[in-house]
C-alpha cells in the first residue's frame, strides 16, 4: 500500500516525471528520424560533413562568385564528406567490435581454463620454451 506523500514528495515526483519526459525527447533527430546522439559515428560524420560543405561551398564561391553553383557544390560536398566519414568511421567501429569480441572471449577462456591443461597461456609458454 502506498505511503502518504510527504510535503516535499509531490514536487520531487513531478521533477522526476519531467526529467523522464525530457529524457525521451532529448535525442536530436535530423529530419525527424536520424538519431544523431545514439547512432555510433553519426554525429562525427554529420559534423565533418557540415564542415566540408561550408569549406567546399564557400571556397567555390570565392573562386567563381557564383552563388547558386556554390550552393550546389556545398550540398554535394556535404553528401560526399558525410558518406566518406561515415564509411571510414563504421569500418573502424566494426574492427573495434571484432577486437572487443575476441578480447571478451579470451578473458572468458582464461577465467574458465586458468590452471588447467587447457589454459591457453600454459600452451603458449610451453611452446615458446620448447
Amino acid at each position: 500500500m502506498a505511503a502518504a506523500p510527504e510535503p516535499g514528495e509531490p514536487e520531487e515526483r513531478k521533477a522526476s516525471c519531467t526529467s523522464l519526459h525530457l529524457s525521451y525527447w532529448k535525442s536530436l533527430k535530423l529530419l525527424g528520424f536520424l538519431d544523431v546522439e545514439n547512432t555510433p559515428c553519426a554525429r562525427h560524420s554529420i559534423l565533418y560533413g557540415s564542415l566540408g560543405s561550408v569549406v567546399a561551398g564557400f571556397g567555390h564561391f570565392l573562386f567563381t562568385s557564383r552563388i547558386r553553383r556554390s550552393c550546389d557544390v556545398g550540398v554535394g560536398g556535404f553528401i560526399l564528406v558525410t558518406l566518406g566519414c561515415w564509411f571510414h568511421c563504421r569500418y573502424n567501429y566494426a574492427k573495434q567490435r571484432i577486437q572487443e569480441r575476441i578480447a571478451r572471449e579470451e578473458i572468458k577462456k582464461k577465467i574458465l581454463y586458468e590452471g588447467t591443461h587447457l589454459d591457453p597461456e600454459r600452451k603458449h609458454n610451453g611452446s615458446s620454451s620448447n
Partner: protein, 227 residues
Amino acid sequence: MAHATQVGLQDATSPIMEELIIFHDHALMIIFLICFLVLYALFLTLTTKLTNTSISDAQEMETVWTILPAIILVLIALPSLRILYMTDEVNDPSFTIKSIGHQWYWTYEYTDYGGLIFNSYMLPPLFLEPGDLRLLDVDNRVVLPVEAPVRMMITSQDVLHSWAVPTLGLKTDAIPGRLNQTTFTATRPGVYYGQCSEICGANHSFMPIVLELIPLKIFEMGPVFTL
C-alpha cells in the same frame, strides 16, 4: 520492452539483433542523405525564377542518375544479404522448444529433457499485480538459458500467428500444417516481451510472448520443471 513513445529499435539481446541494428543505422544514414538531396532539389524547384524551354537532352545527368542509384542499392544490398544468410545459420542448438499458436494463447513444449508442456495466456487486467505490464505479462513465461543456442520450432493449431520477440530480432510465422524453425543465442539475462505479429482474430493483440532468460547454471538446476 519498448518504453512509451519509443519509435526506434529496442536494445539488442542477441548477436543477430546487434547486426540488424548496425545495418539499420547504415541504411538510415543513406536514406537521410537521399532525403537531404531531394529536399534541396525541391527547394531549388520552388525558388527558381528561370523558365528554361530549350533543353532537349541531358545525357550526363541521365547517366549520373542511373548509375548513382544502382551504386546506392548495391551499398544497401550487400550488408543486407550478409545478415540474411547469417540468420539462416544453424549453429548446433543445445536446446529445442516448440511453440504452438492458438486462438488466443501460446503453448510451449520442452520435450528435450522431459515432457513439460504448458499454455501461456495473457494476464487479464484484473489479475495484474503492481508492477506488471498491461497487455504484455503472461501467466507462464518461457524460461530459457543465456548464451546457449536455442532452437524454436513454431507452428499453429488453427490460424496464422507469428511468434515475435523484437529484442532478439525474431519474428517467425506460425502456420498450421507447417513447422518453421528459428534459432537464437541470448547474450544477457532478463525478461523480454513480444506480441503476436499476424492478425489472427478478435484477441490478436492479447496473446503476448514473454521470455525469461536466466543464467545456464540456474537453468540447469531445473526451475522450469517444477511447475
